[in-house]
């Protein structure tokens, strides 16, 4: 049996989790909610994170548009994903939820805008 102590990152509570792995199954204790149980399992089997960053945008009322991966992606893909994000360039206008990069770094997860950026005539 293997046991791991984790801090849940699902919400600000930061519950201390204990994940037991036995006979191919996992049990999570210490969680205050269902999301915590799910996080505990995932974290020991294949940890994932949501990545947030910014993408350069042309012709808008902001020069950067904040973005995030629509869902969590495998932890070991974070830097591959960042590489694509850092290279990306989009044009205004952009609305919240617009896909900025489809299937980022082969994760199958798209990167979407998290702010509206309006088009300006002269930027």
């Amino acid at each position: 049996m293997e046991e791991r102590e984790l801090i849940c990152i699902c919400c600000p509570l930061g519950c201390p989790l204990t994940v037991r792995m036995e006979n191919g199954g996992t049990t999570v204790t210490g969680n205050s909610c269902g999301r915590g149980a799910e996080y505990g399992k995932k974290e020991v089997l294949s940890p994932t994170r949501v990545v947030t960053s910014t993408v350069s945008i042309k012709g808008g009322d902001f020069v950067m548009v904040p973005v995030k991966t629509r869902e969590d992606i495998p932890k070991d893909k974070i830097f591959d994903c960042m590489e694509e994000i850092r290279k990306a360039l989009v044009s205004a206008p952009v609305s919240i939820g617009d896909v900025i990069i489809a299937d980022c770094a082969g994760t199958g997860v798209s990167v979407i805008a998290t702010r509206n950026v309006r088009k300006t005539e002269d930027i």
Partner: protein, 501 residues
């Protein structure tokens, strides 16, 4: 006068070959001043009354970048210096000149008066001696106050104060304001400022001196050495009578304006068995300043504060003034006094180097003395060069308008005419876009964030440029056409950013 030297051809062939090979830019002046601190700028301004071709060579990107920016900002009354010394003479004269100069050149100066606090009956004789010294130096209106009198005038002075020397002529000044005003006025009167020019060598020539930097050579008849802590090095290049300047470091703590009314006078401590003591003073901008420590250092660039000295300030300042709210400290800084072994200013023509003038060892009261030293040296050189006064000397200079000092209607009108005065960039000090643009675009305009800060106080307030840095950088880039990555805090290499996405 100038014409003569325009046509001057250096006769030293070797030098010419050197210059050609190195592709050096050659420049000709009648007088070259090394150092754009308050002393150099004061001399430049006074010398610009005369029909001379003058330059100021400054190694930094702006004037007021060395000791002139990091000091107590005090206009000393003049009781401190040894009677008969140059310090005594120029201090008293400089103090007397300051009010009128502040009006002519539009910088902040307040005669708030100073007190030297005595903590022990045993030290009263020393206090009286200071009084006598002041009288000898010609300091007007000095008096000795009892401890109770002191506390009536300054309720936050400690109970341990038994007496004080009171000098109503003591004052406070904006050291940036003073230096920049002198420089701008000099520039308006034709003085050229050569920034980021570090003089590496000085060679005697037939008609004067060559000042040599990495890429320039200045041919000049007269040299004025106002190089602060480096003045000994330049002096020693031309004279056998060596000077030795030791940088005497002083750390300071600057407190929020919230603490600015703790005292209204400048409060010194009478040097006693506990050491020299620490001063506590309001600044002309309404902050509270306390310091300086004193430690001799070897490195002339050692402007870092140390934990020991910062804690010394907190301990010792409390001897004289109670309830100093150090949690309201917004910044601490350090300055280097140019202390010469001879203990006095070294001002005048170097005996074994004709045409080379020193303004060296200009430690405290250097700031106070600057205007008087400027007049003295300018007259000396003008006489020697047989230079005539200009017909159209511009006596006055107008500073950047501070909208906060205008009436509501005037300020509203100002924004009406130019809306950029309505956009506040530095919220702590209330500085608008228009003022920052003024600081960049006027005579000898700012080229760095520190330059802007010293001209209009953007970034000088309680958040210490946390909020306004991004915007000020952008304004500086916009107005100077520089790339944002090239914007510097001060000298070359102090870039704020390391790249752009």
């Amino acid at each position: 006068m100038s014409l003569l030297f325009f046509s001057m051809i250096p006769e030293n062939r070797e030098t010419i070959t050197d210059l050609e090979e190195n592709n050096m830019k050659e420049m000709n002046y009648d007088t070259a001043i090394i150092g754009g601190g308050v002393i150099g700028c004061a001399i430049a301004r006074e010398l610009s009354r005369y029909d001379l071709k003058i330059c100021v060579s400054e190694r930094e990107e702006d004037v007021c970048s060395g000791t002139s920016k990091s000091n107590s900002a005090i206009v000393h009354a003049g009781y401190d210096a040894v009677p008969g010394s140059l310090k005594a003479r120029f201090n008293t004269e400089g103090n007397r000149m300051m009010r009128e100069l502040s009006k002519a050149l539009d910088f902040s100066f307040i005669r708030n008066g100073s007190m030297v606090i005595c903590f022990s009956e045993k030290d009263i004789p020393a206090l009286n001696a200071l009084y006598e010294k002041g009288v000898k130096n010609g300091v007007p209106d000095l008096s000795i106050l009892t401890g109770d009198e002191v506390r009536t005038m300054e309720p936050n002075v400690t109970e341990t104060a038994v007496a004080a020397l009171y000098a109503p002529t003591g004052g406070i000044v904006c050291p940036f304001g003073l230096t920049i005003a002198l420089a701008e006025n000099a520039c308006d009167n034709g003085v050229e400022f050569l920034f980021e020019m570090e003089v590496k060598d000085i060679r005697k020539t037939e008609h004067g001196y060559d000042l040599i930097s990495e890429d320039k050579v200045i041919h000049t008849s007269y040299v004025i050495n106002a190089a602060g802590v480096y003045a000994d090095e330049f002096h020693n290049m031309v004279s056998e009578k060596k000077l030795r300047i030791t940088p005497r470091k002083g750390d300071y703590c600057l407190l929020d304006k919230e603490a600015g009314t703790l005292v209204s006078h400048t409060i010194f401590q009478l040097p006693g068995k506990m050491g020299k003591g620490i001063l506590v003073t309001p600044t002309v901008h309404g902050n509270l300043l306390t310091g300086p420590t004193a430690s001799d250092v070897e490195d002339k660039e050692a402007t870092g504060t140390t934990a020991k000295e910062l804690s010394d300030i907190m301990v010792k300042s409390a001897w004289g003034v109670k309830n100093i709210p150090f949690r309201h400290t917004i910044t601490s800084f350090s300055g280097l006094r140019a202390h010469e072994d001879g203990e006095d200013f070294v001002v005048g023509e170097v005996p074994d180097a004709a045409g080379f003038f020193d303004a060296a060892g200009m430690e405290s009261p250097g700031l106070t003395s600057a205007p008087a030293v400027g007049v003295y040296l300018a007259e000396l050189i003008a006489q020697k060069a047989n230079a005539k006064k200009k017909e159209h000397f511009q006596e006055t200079r107008k500073g950047i308008v501070n909208p906060q000092k205008l009436s509501f209607e005037q300020r509203a009108e100002m924004i009406n005419k130019d809306p950029s005065y309505g956009t506040i960039i530095c919220r702590c000090e209330g500085v608008s876009e228009g003022e920052i643009v003024d600081a960049i675009t006027r005579t000898l305009g700012a080229v760095s964030l520190d330059g802007i800060k010293r001209r209009v106080r953007a970034g000088m307030g309680r958040c210490q440029a946390g909020f306004c840095t991004p915007k000020t950088m952008e304004l500086l880039a916009r107005e100077t056409g520089k790339k944002i990555e090239d914007i510097c805090k001060n000298r070359t290499g102090s870039n704020l950013l390391t790249g752009k996405r």
